[in-house]
Amino acid sequence: MRAFWPDYTMMIFAMGLVTFIPRWLPLLFLSRRDLPQWLVDWLDFIPVAILSALLAPLLVTSGPLPHLDFQRIELVAALPTFGVACWTRSLGVTVLAGMFSFWLLGLFWPI
């Protein structure tokens, strides 16, 4: 097994650099000036937009070449998880409730 070889190390540093730059430049420059109102408005909707864009494909698509799939435990378990999130508004409780629902449904899947 190869531990560290120069090519690997160089590649990792390059990967780190191209990952860091998009994380760094907006923080550095946008935090130093007055932003126009339209940009502030747009950025205010980024979190909700990005979370739903991250989440939805995890619930209703499957496979390495993604295709629509509505018969997923992930989707069914999302319903009680969503309910617990609205009801408790606690991240920790929701995560535990989601894990429990997913585990429980997995025992009986496919229904």
Partner: protein, 233 residues
Amino acid sequence: MPPSIASSVLGRGLSAAWPICLGYLPIGMALGVLGQKAGLHPLAIGFMSLVVFAGSSQFIAVSMISSGMPAFTIVITTFVVNLRHLLMSSALAIPFRGRSRSVLTLFAYGVTDESFAVNYPKLLEGDWHIEHALVVNHAANLTWIASTVAGGYGGQYIPEGAFGIDYALIAMFICLLVFQLRGKIYLVTAILGGALAVGLALVLPSNWHIIVASTLAAVCGASIKRYYRRLSS
């Protein structure tokens, strides 16, 4: 900083970070197992987690390494997959106005989907400062590095899917999305973002669907908000 304040910053940061850490454990271990199968030493996997610290791109990189792809292709793919953090850092720039460049640089290293989603609403509420947010970032970072290394050394002995832990991150996204539904326009934006992301995920490679869908959905949300503001003024 007196010890009592320091410990309360640490305590509050860690109590916000633990759901992320719980979610990272199984994913990090899975990455470690795959990396080891791809011929990487567990410490080489840990080195990647330390330098890159971006889960989904690391999975893609490991699978590309094992299929013998050239390094240049792997680096370009990593860039595209992680470009979405550009949007998160832009949003974070508003609560972090005027902070020193060195603190922002340290913070930038730890911007991930999960830490962003935990920190951002708390920063908007106030009573949550960059120090708390840094504790969240670094607790998540340490857990990630440790779990990928642990996976490389012994992950294959852990039964798959134990305790439903594979669902931890999805449950976290669901809860954080609920926190973000602060009104009708946010709900519309969420539905639009989700629908667009699913549609685009079927046709676009790597993580482009996340970037395109969230950019467009946020444009719609902001346009609706501005339309109503103009109506009422």
